[in-house]
Symmetry: C2
Subunit: 143 residues, 2 copies
DNA sequence: GTCATTGCAAAACGTTTGCATGAAT
DNA sequence: ATTCATGCAAACGTTTTGCAATGAC
């Protein structure tokens, strides 16, 4: 374990991530931070995100949409990613409480209590599709 | 939806994936298939894997270890990836039955019934670490 | 004959790394 | 003075793409 020195860049990255309530990619975060530090480099953002993940101050989310996402909330919770719009949503602990009991009975000690990723389609996308179907059936005003 | 034409390469990729009981990456699959078709290109492997995922004949697993993995078993089941050794394990449906009820109650229609990815550490790695700890405490024969 | 598929190589993408400079301790 | 962090650019590994040639229908 090496000693970390203070860096205003790292502090800014962490602060920026904490203040956002979405789950930005490294690149999105880079764009945000550039407003305050126009000279910061993408490499620095990646390096610091890795450090913060190592120290457990932030979480990395690999959702399969190409780029990793980052979460400023270190406290245990779950994530749900929409296959359509690639939005990442938080899923509170309570929802999964019963799962963990089941999982532990099956494979004691194996399943982490807070590392589960759900995939599906979010209500926004489901509603959008539903209204598009209605359009087709009824009077199509888009034609 | 465009019409698919037969291709022996695609057939071979599918057959190869079905016969394996692990969850290979595109590159590992490419290596296997080269034994039968030495001229097949990596691009073709990727193109066909994408087609097979689209038609639902195979599953793509994004586990965050750099490369995507593929699963020849299309039937619903879950996956568990070890953070240490990056092995991907199957988790049978029964284990999760109770979870889905809970999830549906929370977010009806949102959570897919078979798209959950678990992260943790497998028993192999846990045992390995345990025996290493014993080594330290007892007579260290590695020194 | 038409259109999907192939092999190849180049490009794209997200991420990491080497290096000389600069900042923190 | 030492050691870590930075900016930049080059390199990396994975995946996609453009293209001319081949194969399925």
């Amino acid at each position: 374990m090496k000693t970390l020195k203070y860096s205003r860049q790292r502090e800014s990255i962490k602060a920026c991530l904490m203040n956002r309530h979405d789950h930005p990619t490294a690149d999105a975060l880079y764009a945000s931070i550039r407003e305050e530090y126009p000279n910061i480099s993408l490499g620095t953002v990646y390096r610091n995100l890795n450090l913060l993940v190592e120290t457990g101050e932030i979480q990395r989310l690999t959702c399969g949409d190409g780029a990793d996402h980052y979460d400023g909330v270190a406290a245990p919770h779950y994530h749900f990613m929409c296959r359509d719009c690639h939005q990442v949503y938080d899923v509170p602990m309570e929802v999964i409480a019963s799962l963990n009991e089941t999982a532990q009975a099956y494979a004691p000690g194996i399943v982490d209590s807070h590392s589960i990723l759900f995939f599906g389609r979010c209500s926004c996308c489901l509603e959008k599709e539903a209204s598009e179907k209605n359009m087709e059936k009824g009077v199509d005003k888009t034609a």
